[in-house]
Every structure is written in C-alpha cells, then in structure tokens.
Amino acid sequence: MAEILVVAEHRRQTLADVSLQMLSKGRQLADQASAELLAVVIGRNVDGYAQELARWADRVLAVMNEKLGESLAEPSQKILTSIIKERKPSLVLMGHSSFGMDLAPALAVELGAPLATDCLDLFIGNGSITATRSIYNGKVNAVYSFIPCETLIVTGRVGEFPIEDWDKQGEIEEIDFPLEEEFNYKQFEGYIEQEAGGVDITQAEVVVSIGRGIKDKEHIELAQQLASELGGVVACSRPVVDYGWLPSERQVGLSGKAVKPKLYLALGISGAFQHVVGLKGSKMIVAINKDARASIFSLADYGIVDDILKVVPLLIQKIAALKG
C-alpha cells in the first residue's frame, strides 16, 4: 500500500481535534499496511500546525499561500486535487466535520474517487479496505467495500476515533502553492458567534439536558427546577433548538457545545451521535427515556425507562426531601 493521506483542518488559529483523531486512525492503518502516513495542512501560515501534525505523520506537507484566508474548502479542493493526482495515496482521510462535509464530496467528484462519509471504522485486509457506517438511526451498521481504485476518500465520524499519543517527528515539507484561481463567486463574510446569554453550559458541574421528549416549551420549567435543585444548568439536544424553545447556546453536541460535567442528566434524549459526541466527557450519565431501545442507554451509567414528565416532578421532590 502506498501512502495514507490525512487532511488536517483548522479554523481561527486552532487545529481541529478531529484531525488528530483521523491522524491516530491513519497511524494505525499505515503501520498495519506498512504505508507512509502523510498529513496535509493548508493555509496562509501553518508552521505551528505542521509541528503538531508531525507527531503522528511520517511526512507533513505544509501548503501555504498568501491569498488563503479563513474559508478554505474551495482552495483546499484545488490544492488537494493536485497533490493527490501527483502522489496517488491509496487512502485520503478527513473528519466528517463541517469542513469535511463541504470538501470531501466535491473532491471525490473532481478526482473520480469513491467516497465513504461519516465512517465509524475502517479495516484493511487482503489489500482492500472496508468501511463501517451507522445507518437507520443508529439501529444498523453497514459495511461497505469499494471498487478497485487509485485513491479512496473516507471521512470519519467526529469523536469516534480516540487520539493516541505519538512522537514520530515526521518530516515537514513546506510548499508554496501557486493559486491561480479566484473564488470570487463565494465570499466569506465572517464568523457569527451565538449570542451570549449568560449561561455557559460548558463550565457546569451538573447539566440537565432535554430532548424531544420534553414535548412542549412549557415543560422546560420542570428541567429548570431540577437543575436549580442540583445546582446545575439546562442544556438540550438539537430538536429543542430547532423548535425555538431554547437558544442555540444551550445545545450540546456536534453543532453545539461539548460539556464535561460531573453529572449529565439526559431527559427524553434518544442519543443521536450528533448529540452524544458533545457529552462524552461527562463523569456520570443518567438517562430517562420512554423508549427502552433509545441508544442513549448504551452510553448511560443509569437509566430509567419512563415518561420524563412523570419522573422529573417526583425526582425534584425526592431530591429536595433528601437535601432536607
């Protein structure tokens, strides 16, 4: 097997965790297949990132160009196409992040390469690669194979691959890439931070998080009471924000925030991975959900199968009673 190429991403002076996750997985695969692990990082000034990536990669391509700004999907596509065509890596890995989701499908089309996105795992055996994906609400796993090809592109699920420590001290190769194309049709206008509403769920010791099972915005008060009783804050999963019942600053998950409380209490949350990825740092997870098959229960330490609207009022009472 030839090279395995990992596309590293960064935004606002920060290297994305998911890139280190993909590098760790790439490292494993490269060692297994006796291949070289190549990391590519693209930007105006990427020296710092390259140093970091070199801990995992055998070789880091630090691709720089003065014209590169914050929005990198389109230029990255051009640059990567050129690099991949030249080096013909057998596998290109990147995170299934907002960056990867924008980039990978376009890159695959441009290269005519097979693409598997949001993969949970990758296997190399008998010279071929298979990828496992989660489908049907996480109820089924699907294993995919690919037609024989020069290069296969895979995006990996965020948070699914643990970061392993390496110190490879790979070689860093700086490339000043000439960018002739202009991307005037798409202008980056800036970042928008969600409104700061005064509640920082990432710092809370107790997070009472509500999902679709809360059923009505009127019931959020219940969660609020429970949170007050436990000295915590109320957070939520995506549907609650989509309905406009809580501001997005309260959302836990991939597009929301990552929390690391002592107690994460998931109320009426089914446990879609996009949510779960944001609560993995919790020390103790308790889930209450009507559906015994909800995937949140495979993550929780304790579970109650019941209607949250029935259990939570009682739980508030019981806690108050125990507190005396």
Binding site: K215, D216, E218, H219, E221, L222, K310, P313
Partner: protein
C-alpha cells in the same frame, strides 16, 4: 383572504358578545370551567376572546402567530361553552373554533405538537408516532381473540393501545368482558385511529379518510356491534360515522357493563370499599349526555360510597385532555392546569378514589394527582378496574 376554505361561520362568528357565561359551570360556583381560561386567566383564552381573535384573523386585523395558534388550540372541545352560552348560536361555538383550526391546517400553520400529532396519525395511525406494528402489543398474553365475526368488536383506540397506563385498563376491560361471557374480538395491529381528535384538531380530510377506512374495514369483517374503551372513539363512531355510511350499534363500555351487571352476567358481590367520586368525561357527558350508566355501576357495587364534585355532569370541568390535547399539551405546566384543578376538587369531596371512564382522563388526572402530591390520598381508577375488582378478576 379565505383562499383555502370558505369559513363556514363567517355570518355567525361576530355574534359573540363576550358576556362570559361560557366561563362558568351550570351554576356559578367557579369562573374556571373553560379549561383554557382556567389555565391562563386572560380574556384572550376565554371562548369569547378566542372567537373575537378568530374573527380578527379572518378579517386580516391580526396576523397568524404561533401564540394565536396556541390560543385557538388551547380549546379542547369540552363543550362547556355550548352548554352555558345563552344565545342561539351556541351549538356552533366549538364548530367555529374547529373551523378556524381547520383553516390553519389547510394553510399548514399549526403549532409544532399539533403538526407532529397529525403527521404521526397520517403515517402510523396513532398520535404517538409509535409503529403500527406495536398497536396490538397491549393484548399479549391475555388470550384476547382477533375479531372474526364475534358479536362485538372491542375497539381500543390509540391511548388504550399505546399509553402504558391505559394499556392496563384496556386489558382489564378485556378480562371483564371475557368474564361476562361476551363474544368479542379486537383488531390488534389492524386497528386504526378513530379520528375523533383528528377532527377536533381541524384536520377534517384526514378524519374523513380514517372514518371511511375504518367503516370499510368494519363492514368487510361483518362488524355489527362495537364496544369502545374510549368515549372519544364512541363519539366519533356513534355520531360521525353514520355520515359516512357506518351504521353500527356503538356502545361505550360503561353502557354495556351496566347492562351486564343488570343481567347478572357480572357478579359484583365482591364489592369495593371506598369513597368514590366520578369524573364525567366530556365525550361521554356533554357530547353524548351519558351521565347515568357510570353512576349506576358505581351505585350497584357494594361498599362504594359515591360522592359528587360540585361541578358534575353537564357542569363538569374537563381534564384538559380533549381535542388531542392529551398529546398537544397546551394546558399543562401550572397549578392552574385543568387536570390539577380537577383532582384538587375531587380530593375536596373526601373521596379516596377518583373514578374515570376514559383513558385520556386517566392519563391526565393520574399525572395531576402526582403533580399535586396526592398519591397517598387519591387514586385514579378506571370504572372497569373497579368493577373487575368487585368481580374478583383483579
């Protein structure tokens, strides 16, 4: 601006003076007999306020908002206003509100929980969105037969089929009917939503489809007599299905059980020792004027001391679960919620058993008992469960 449907009541809707009689029960004990007004205590939530707002919307004086939709959907079709309004258009009050809901349905502008309710019924035949395949699960292990020409079709309904607590009631009633030697069967996973709530949520075409499908299915199976667990099913099948050619003998189970007791088919000599207060379900009471059968049953059981709440029969306060609100849930979250008011009223009679005859009332009131912290003082029991205990089947 009525682009989608002609509002049928445009020559009536302005006739409400907002005198406020509709807020009261039959006497003047309490101004809180309209569930929505009782919960919110703002004029906008009273029946008159709702009618005035509907008219303002139809006349383009106000725009549709989520809040407006919630005010309209806070009407749970309990018919207290119809009972109380002194004016002649009173029979159309709930119809006027349902027609406004219908207009919102046609424009796609309904609150999110109502949208979910209706989409779930469209897709899975029940408001919960649970799989159709699970509809018959309640009867597992009971030996209840699939309907195949027995004398009665036992129609369970969505709440009895899916709600954990109401499933117990559905089972108990089945065992009771079995004990009485009644020939009956159920439809299990072939059963579909009766449509009563769908109609009251204003989705009239979906209701028509459900009614027609059910009637076709019943006729194909040779159904002649139907006994329902829920007064909501009873109402739809008795009053609406005939309009679609569905002429069946429809009974609410309290009517049938009362008869079975009278005929000596059920031996209730085991008795039931309790002070019992009975809560009239709107779709049995005000909608169908059946106040006596449930009370006769309770009076017949040895050991029961039957007491009445101050608001009873035509003046009963609704549990707040009608018109799909047991799911859509616009009236909870407060001590002013009708269900909580109702259990406080029940407890004030000194009763230790609150008897219900409707799975919706059961779920609403049982939750309210917990919210009011009355669990050690007041238990909500379905009439079928009380009779079953008196028969020694439980």
């Amino acid at each position: 601006m009525m682009t989608l449907t002609e509002y049928r009541y445009s020559d009536v809707v302005h006739r409400c003076f907002r005198c406020g009689y509709c807020k009261f029960p039959v006497n003047w004990i309490d101004v809180n007999n309209c569930p929505a007004y009782a919960r919110y205590r703002m004029e906008s939530y009273s029946t008159g306020g709702r009618l005035w707002l509907i008219r303002a919307w139809l006349n383009d004086e106000i725009n549709w908002t989520e809040h407006f939709a919630e005010i309209v959907y806070a009407c749970v079709s309990c018919k207290n206003c119809v009972e109380k309004c002194p004016l002649r258009f009173n029979i159309d009050i709930v119809n006027m509100i349902v027609a406004a809901k219908s207009e919102m349905v046609e424009r796609g502008l309904v609150p999110s929980t109502v949208k979910e309710f209706l989409e779930n019924v469209q897709r899975q035949g029940n408001p919960y969105g649970s799989s159709r395949a699970r509809r018959g699960e309640w009867s597992q292990g009971t030996g209840v037969e699939q309907y195949q020409g027995q004398e009665f079709l036992y129609y369970v309904g969505c709440v009895g089929s899916y709600d954990t607590r109401a499933r117990q009631t559905a089972k108990t009633l089945a065992s009771l009917l079995h004990k009485a030697g009644l020939s009956f069967g159920v439809l299990g996973k072939e059963e579909n939503c009766d449509g009563n709530e769908v109609k009251n949520l204003g989705e009239l075409t979906l209701f028509e489809m459900l009614a027609e499908d059910n009637i076709t299915q019943f006729k194909a199976l040779g159904v002649n007599k139907i006994v329902t667990l829920s007064p909501h099913s009873y109402n739809a099948m008795k009053n609406d299905y005939p309009d679609y050619g569905g002429d069946f003998y429809v009974y609410h189970y309290t009517q049938l059980v009362q008869q079975l007791i009278g005929d000596g088919k059920l031996d209730i000599s085991g008795g039931f020792n309790a002070r019992v207060v009975y809560h009239d379900p709107c779709f049995l009471g005000r909608w169908n004027e059946e106040y006596d059968s449930p009370r006769r049953i309770l009076k017949a059981i040895p050991g029961i001391e039957l007491v009445e709440m101050e608001r009873n029969k035509a003046g009963a306060l609704c549990c707040g679960g009608g018109g799909g609100n047991f799911y859509a849930d616009f009236l909870s979250g407060s001590e002013n919620s009708p269900a909580r008011r109702r259990v406080r009223e029940a407890r004030a009679t000194g009763a230790n058993i609150l008897a219900v005859a409707c799975p919706n009332c059961m779920t609403m009131l049982e939750d309210a008992v917990k919210a009011e912290d009355l669990e050690d003082k007041l238990a909500v029991r379905d009439l079928s469960e009380i009779v079953a205990e008196a028969c020694g089947t439980e």
